[in-house]
């Protein structure tokens, strides 16, 4: 990392709040993820859950983004948060921007009473696995040939404490 960057102003974080940011979201994600997403996919997320789309900004430049959703579609009666996409500009790696984005998203989801948070990541993506391991996610499932490029995925899950206490009180 070069010196100017270390001395440069702080990274600031904002939730998605206007259409103009969509291009930034798209270009950050497209550079980093192997899967292509149609414009509808982006809009589906950012307009349904704008509060769960958080951008990291360095000055005028967008350098990281996380896109999530939260609903009870998969498991009625349980609110599930879902991290759909996470990307950080390669020039801004190793500055905990990714971790911060995930933490902020989780905080937001906890504030909205999420029971658990799930996501999928490429099995070979060591950096992502390390990040989520350190946050307490467990790798719950291996999904063979999940992605279009034929790579396996891992399904990760963070179970939040109130959910597990509900479960044990039921059993």
């Amino acid at each position: 990392m070069n010196e100017t960057m270390q001395n440069s102003p702080e990274i600031s974080y904002t939730v998605f709040n206007n259409e103009a940011q969509l291009k930034a979201v798209q270009s950050l994600i497209e550079k980093e993820l192997s899967e292509p997403y149609s414009i509808y996919t982006y809009r589906y997320f950012v307009y349904n859950w704008p509060q769960l789309c958080i951008l990291a900004r360095h000055g005028e430049r967008y350098v990281g983004v996380i896109v999530c959703k939260m609903d009870n579609m998969d498991c009625p009666g349980m609110l599930q948060g879902y991290i759909a996409m996470l990307a950080v500009d390669p020039d801004y790696r190793l500055r905990r921007i990714g971790t911060t984005l995930v933490e902020k998203a989780i905080d937001m989801m906890i504030a909205e009473q999420a029971d658990e948070i799930v996501l999928e990541t490429e099995q070979s993506n060591k950096a992502a696995l390390r990040l989520y391991d350190s946050l307490g996610f467990i790798r719950e499932q291996r999904l063979l040939r999940y992605y279009m490029n034929g790579v396996d995925a891992l399904r990760l899950k963070l179970i939040l404490p109130w959910r597990s206490s509900n479960e044990s009180s039921l059993t």
């Binding site: 809009r43 307009y47 307490g136 279009m148």
Partner: protein, 776 residues
């Protein structure tokens, strides 16, 4: 993000017309009465102008905001395609100078493919490319995008060159046979294999698998005769063609026989026949691999696996409307490598299934030879587990084994196959006298009734059957299914315990009646509960350890994962086996005692007979049937102990990256990891609090002590493993792991690398359960 699962559901619904029947003429005919459905004319009445309302409604939206229908969800959003984006729109792969991909007819008309008098090099090239396509199909690609890119497969009857025609017919039939086998075995998942494909093309010429071998043989003979007329130096290419045809014939026959076995009379004969074909096939493969270079080779940069006969994009436009997937057809050498390994696996499966006629042998043999029977039974169970590990992604290998197994137990046991399979499984495991048909107690009506009830219950629960089937699924699905299977063992355990206590109760009754023989046979029965428990423990162990293979555990989780088998599971297995061995030995001793009494007391022919029988008993007695397995589990126990303590030491030493987040909760993680074990009564679930207190107690030791303790475990493991005679590869691998980790632990105990607290590397390449720890 989700994608695969949603897009694949769609495929079930593809009709023949959508699966590549893209001839406009055909489509027009199929639509029929299309004038009535012409959308430009519909609806004719009732148009209302909503332009004004539309503009007003739009004004309420922000730029970029969309009105979303209730039914437009994530799946719809993700399936939407942005037209003209090359990442999403298949059509963008063609630029305006591209000609449409040629169909069979077009290619013939253009003169792009030859139908007659192909050179040997051309045949070799096409055959090798087709084998590569076959392998790529078995690896999960769509049939249309690999196999049916070969135009020759579209209409083999129009090919005049006999070798090419027959080979193409064979490939088409092989496709049908393989599909049948996979459907029959039903252990495929959407990520393994795509059953659906160009059914219209496939249906165009009728499959006649029974004629294939004969047709191939004819061509081979013709070509061999031709070869003989050629000067010796010039026949090589033609012989390479012959080898490929012959390989196809034997491979086809082997696979076809597997399908036929489902209705065969004699399993043994069929398996022998399969084995013979596999043998020839595997002998031909080295010859084929050596002559790959003699064929025409794919043009560099082209997507076609061979210069002639393939139209790679022909089905692109008839695929389900998802984003274009990159299809990679395996290279030729790698494809033959795949086939070589597959054939070797089939051979291995045949070998064990052939042995497996011990089921029928079992009925007639006495309980004295149970040692050998047990060995065979273990061989079978372990084999299924082992085989599943080896065959990994190959859906055909996994399906073939399932079919061989179910066909052969059906043939061996007829209608009541499952009940008899289970009876024999218990008998082979610990030989309860009540299951020995020669023992008088077996004909006790009350005993029979109880047994009947128990086995019927087992069959209804389907647990054992499921256990074997489960081994057929891919490793990731296997683990998910095991999680559910484990809980099914609980009601079985309850029932088995009940059966055992009924047996003991009856022992008392018979003793009161003065029937000592029956009373002894029924007394101290733990046979059934031990058998169920043993199987349950194994399922639990596989579940837990498969997480390593699937890379589901973070390093900081290793500690409790290894702790559980070390503290409980493997110990349970050892004690179940030891108990069973003791029961068996006691039974044998008792039987020997009985027969001695008979010899001494009785006279005549009967005495002579039992003396004969008494002879081999002596040898049997010495061999402890479970010894090998008990030793193996002892080694496992030490290795788990070593890893558990090593993880404790490394953690305390600050060499393990721990989650430092406010969101992390070790108790939740622990509970989640052991959740499938919670429904079981036996073994009772171990709470996080219990685990924590045991671990915290261990962690009181100093780091050096902990490293030394771990080293000691690895040393024990080494000792145990070294005592095994004629070790298999797995034992040798475990030995290397134990030795290396012993050294590493000692090095760390002596304070090596004290300044740099780096997490070691955990290398699972030698064994899927245990890593070699490497200091960087």
């Amino acid at each position: 993000m989700e994608r695969e699962s949603s897009s694949n559901n769609e495929q079930d619904e593809w009709s023949a017309s959508e699966c590549g029947f893209n001839d406009p003429e055909v489509q027009r005919v199929m639509r029929g009465g299309s004038a009535a459905e012409d959308i430009t004319q519909y609806p004719i009445h009732g148009w209302v102008d909503v332009t004004q309302e539309f503009h007003e409604a739009c004004a309420e939206l922000l730029p970029g905001e969309l009105a979303q229908d209730m039914l437009f969800g994530l799946f719809e959003a993700m399936s939407a395609i942005e037209i003209m984006d090359p990442k999403m729109d298949v059509g963008m792969g063609f630029d305006k100078f591209d000609l449409p991909p040629p169909s069979f007819e077009a290619a013939v008309a253009m003169g792009a493919i030859k139908l007659d008098a192909l050179e040997p090099a051309e045949l070799i090239g096409i055959f090798d490319a087709l084998f590569a396509c076959l392998v790529s199909w078995l690896e999960g690609n769509s049939m249309d995008q690999v196999l049916f890119t070969c135009l020759y497969l579209h209409a083999p009857s129009q090919i005049q060159d006999k070798a090419l025609r027959v080979f193409c017919i064979a490939v088409r039939n092989l496709i049908v046979v393989i599909k049948n086998i996979i459907i029959l075995a039903a252990v495929n998942e959407e990520e393994d294999f795509q059953l659906y494909g160009n059914s219209a093309l496939l249906a165009a010429e009728k499959a006649q698998p029974a004629t294939i071998a004969g047709q191939l043989k004819d061509v081979e003979d013709e070509l061999v005769r031709k070869c003989k007329k050629l000067p010796p130096a010039e026949d090589q290419n033609l012989m390479a063609v012959v080898h490929r045809l012959r390989f196809m014939r034997h491979l086809f026959q082997a696979i076809y026989q597997v399908e036929l076995m489902a209705s065969a009379e004699s399993a043994e004969e069929a398996v022998n026949e399969i084995y013979k074909n596999l043998n020839v096939a595997s002998e031909l493969l080295p010859l084929i691999k050596r002559t790959i270079e003699r064929g025409t080779q794919p043009v560099e940069g082209s997507e076609a696996p061979n210069p002639m006969g393939f139209s790679p994009r022909i089905h692109d436009r008839s695929q389900p409307p998802t984003f274009p997937r990159s299809i990679k057809i395996r290279e030729r050498p790698a494809s033959y490598q795949f086939l070589e390994e597959m054939v070797a696996r089939f051979k291995y499966a045949c070998k064990v299934i052939r042995h497996k006629d011990y089921y029928s042998a079992l009925v007639s043999s006495s309980w004295l030879s149970s040692g050998i029977l047990f060995y065979l039974s273990c061989l079978l169970q372990n084999f299924f587990i082992e085989y599943s590990r080896k065959s990994g992604h190959c859906i055909l290998s996994r399906s073939v084994l399932q079919n061989l197994f179910s066909s052969s137990i059906r043939v061996a046991h007829g209608k009541q196959s499952m009940k008899r399979f289970l009876r024999h499984s218990v008998q082979a495991f610990n030989s309860p006298p009540v299951l020995n048909l020669k023992h008088p107690v077996a004909s006790d009506p009350k005993v029979q009734q109880h047994l009947e009830t128990f086995f019927r219950y087992c069959i209804n629960m389907n647990t054992f059957n499921q256990f074997i089937r489960l081994c057929g699924f891919n490793r990731a699905r296997q683990r998910d299914k095991l999680a559910h299977l484990i809980e099914n063992f609980d009601p079985l355990q309850v029932d088995a315990v009940r059966l055992d206590s009924l047996m003991n109760q009856m022992a008392n009754e018979r003793a009161m009646e003065g029937n000592e023989l029956h009373a002894t046979a029924l007394k101290h029965s733990t046979h059934f509960s031990t058998w169920v428990l043993y199987n349950c423990f194994r399922a639990m162990l596989i579940y837990l350890m498969s997480g390593f293979e699937l890379e589901l555990y973070a390093v900081h989780e290793f500690l409790y994962i290894y702790w559980y088998p070390y503290e409980f599971l493997v110990g349970f297995l050892v004690s179940a086996l030891t108990r069973t061995e003791n029961i068996l030995l006691a039974q044998e001793e008792y039987a020997e005692h009985q027969s001695k009494m008979q010899v001494n007391g009785g006279g005549g022919g009967a005495g002579g007979k039992s003396r004969k029988a008494a002879k081999p008993k002596k040898n049997k007695k010495q061999q402890r049937p479970y010894r090998q397995e008990i030793i193996y589990y002892h080694a496992l126990l030490s290795l788990c102990g070593g890893m558990y303590k090593a993880m404790g030491a490394l953690t305390k030493d600050g060499r393990v990256r721990l989650p430092m987040s406010k969101f992390d909760n070790e108790e939740i993680r622990y509970n989640r990891r052991f959740a499938p074990f919670v429904p079981l009564t036996s073994p009772p679930p171990v709470s996080y609090v219990e685990f924590k207190s045991i671990r915290d107690h261990m962690m009181l030791c100093s780091v050096e002590e902990l490293y030394s303790m771990a080293a000691k475990h690895f040393d024990q493991a080494r000792n145990v493993l070294e005592s095994i005679q004629n070790p298999e590869q797995e034992i040798l691998d475990l030995l290397q792991i134990a030795r290396t980790n012993f050294v590493v632990m000692n090095v760390l105990a002596r304070g090596h690398q004290k300044e740099v607290k780096r997490q070691p590397e955990f290398d699972f390449s030698k064994h899927s359960y245990f890593p070699i720890m490497k200091l960087k």
